[in-house]
């Protein structure tokens, strides 16, 4: 009788232990394999040399060229406009997509919902830098390409979070409005919109904050703003200017994050 039972209690069965062990083995083997494939073309001399290079670049960057700052004010203004107008464009496009994608408000689950979901996934998987790359080729360099790139990338983000917020709305409130004999548009207007409004503003401000970071580098592919100056300074190897631009971007990002955190706590 007693011989069949283990003497010590163990948290996992032998089978799960074996599975977990096999999982770790696969991870380690996969890591080693990937590491080898990845580093086939790596020149290890450059890697060994990196600390020296870093020290060299660092010494060239310091001190930052502060007299360059006034020249950066107009590109900075462009960057901020690009982020804000892009966010507006993205939100305008995202709201209908979100309502089509939410299970409880979509007019047709069979056709429109999958299309809306595909738009959201496509927009989310393609970074704004890639959108900018395409749009600069199509529209020509400038802030317009940047605005549209930011807008297209924001559609997926805002659309996804907004449609999840719409799906999480309280059903009882919708039922109460419907019980008064409200039409579908009135239900939307009085039951769903007030419930998602705080989420909507929170998401918008959050995305605006992210867009400020992203718009700062869009200039690298020619979409205007402070990134253009960064690219120009990198091309002429003017490291003090690069340092100045990076400090300015960092400052802008910190301020925008602070603003967005303040606004979000005020709204929610």
């Amino acid at each position: 009788m007693t011989g069949d039972f283990p003497k010590e209690w163990q948290y996992r069965t032998p089978k799960t232990k074996l599975l977990i062990w096999a999982f770790w083995l696969c991870m380690v083997a996969g890591f080693v394999y990937c590491w080898q494939v990845m580093n086939e073309g790596t020149i290890w001399f450059f890697v060994q040399d990196a600390p020296k290079q870093a020290a060299d670049i660092g010494s060239r960057m310091w001190p930052p060229k502060l007299s360059y700052v006034p020249e950066l004010m107009i590109p900075l203004w462009d960057t901020l406009n690009m982020a804000t107008l892009g966010t507006m464009l993205g939100v305008i496009l995202a709201v209908p997509v979100a309502f089509l994608a939410a299970r409880n408000t979509t007019p047709s689950t069979a056709i429109l919902r999958p299309i809306a979901l595909f738009i959201i996934v496509a927009s989310r998987s393609i970074n704004s830098l890639i959108w900018a790359l395409l749009l600069v080729a199509i529209l020509g360099p400038g802030i317009l390409a940047g605005i549209i790139a930011i807008g297209f990338r924001s559609v997926g983000f805002v659309g996804k979070l907004l449609y999840e917020a719409i799906e999480e709305t309280d059903v009882t409130q919708i039922e109460a409005i419907r019980a008064t004999g409200a039409s579908p548009t009135q239900v939307l207007n009085y039951a769903i919109v007030p419930q998602v409004m705080p989420a909507f503003w929170g998401i918008t401000v959050f995305r605006w904050d992210i867009n400020i970071r992203e718009s700062a580098i869009l200039g690298l592919v020619g979409a205007g703003g402070i990134g253009l100056k960064l690219q120009a300074s990198l091309n002429i190897l003017s490291w003090p200017q690069v340092a100045t631009i990076l400090l300015l971007i960092l400052l802008t990002v910190v301020i925008s994050e602070w603003v967005s955190a303040k606004v979000r706590t005020a709204l929610i």
Binding site: M38, N39, I43, A50, I126, N127, L133, L144, E214, V254
Partner: protein
């Protein structure tokens, strides 16, 4: 009979004074006009580009996977290996930093150091970090690997630290009451509570790293981004469309796979 109003309007919530509301709206309007004014759209250039745009849409609808397949395949393998290794290394580094950045388990001095590391990693854009790593380590996926690992630290460590700060303190107290050391506390009280979320975050970060790996290639850090950049520069929109569709497809698989895996693990 008194006539009831048929519509209702919610009273203003944040700016209660009428002057403030009008002033704010005017300010926004003035900014909007100024901002629109800075867009220097060159309509001739846009009209000329429309034909290119049309070709791109065509390329997207009829993608060409075959003629540049070896380049696409090479870029894809670089991107995927880069994503895998950098996610693992990034998580391995960010777990101790995340524990150090949790106020309830770390000493004050360690807390500030770890929060500092997280702030630096989060403040720097991946592309900017990639530019520097490419300058230091040379072109290729190794620089991309370092960039993505660096970016992973800020993301995972911050969310892990917040999760550890939110754990159920009673369980930690129960373990502490048995006379457990700090390591035992982490192992028996903290780790079981945060493990499901850490797995979820890791899968999510894998997804993000793949997407980012498509971008940092543009500045020379290897991966599919370099192939995409070349395809667009050469106006081969059908190949570019194929690459974009592959990226979307892999992100879709990663997203659905990770949500399935998370459900399976919980």
């Amino acid at each position: 009979m008194t006539s009831y109003p048929t519509t209702w309007k919610r009273p203003p919530q944040i700016f209660k004074h009428r002057g403030w509301r009008i002033g704010l709206q005017l300010a926004v309007l003035v900014w909007f006009v100024l901002a629109i004014g800075t867009i220097d759209a060159n309509w001739e250039r846009i009209a000329a580009g429309m034909e290119r745009g049309l070709r791109f849409v065509q390329g997207f609808l009829q993608p060409d996977f075959t003629s540049r397949w070896s380049d696409i395949y090479g870029g894809l393998i670089e991107s995927l290996t880069m994503t895998f290794t950098s996610t693992i290394v990034g998580i391995a580094i960010s777990v101790p930093i995340g524990i150090g950045a949790a106020r309830n388990v770390a000493p004050r001095a360690v807390y500030y150091v770890c929060r500092g590391i997280i702030a630096v990693s989060r403040a720097l854009q991946e592309v900017i970090v990639a530019i520097f790593f490419v300058a230091m380590f040379g072109f290729g996926p190794f620089a991309g690997f370092l960039t993505l690992s660096f970016a992973t630290i800020g993301f995972i460590a911050k969310l892990l630290a917040e999760d550890i700060e939110d754990i159920d303190e009673t369980q930690a107290e129960a373990i502490r009451a048995t006379g457990a050391s700090w390591w035992q506390l982490i192992n028996y009280a903290v780790q079981p509570q945060v493990m499901p979320r850490l797995i979820g975050l890791s899968l999510y970060r894998f997804d993000i790293n793949f997407r980012e790996s498509a971008v940092i290639g543009i500045v020379g850090a290897g991966g599919i981004g370099a192939t995409l950049n070349t395809a667009i520069d050469r106006y081969e929109y059908d190949s570019a469309g194929a690459i974009l569709l592959i990226i979307i497809g892999i992100v879709l698989i990663a997203e659905y796979g990770s949500s399935y895996l998370r459900k399976f693990l919980q």
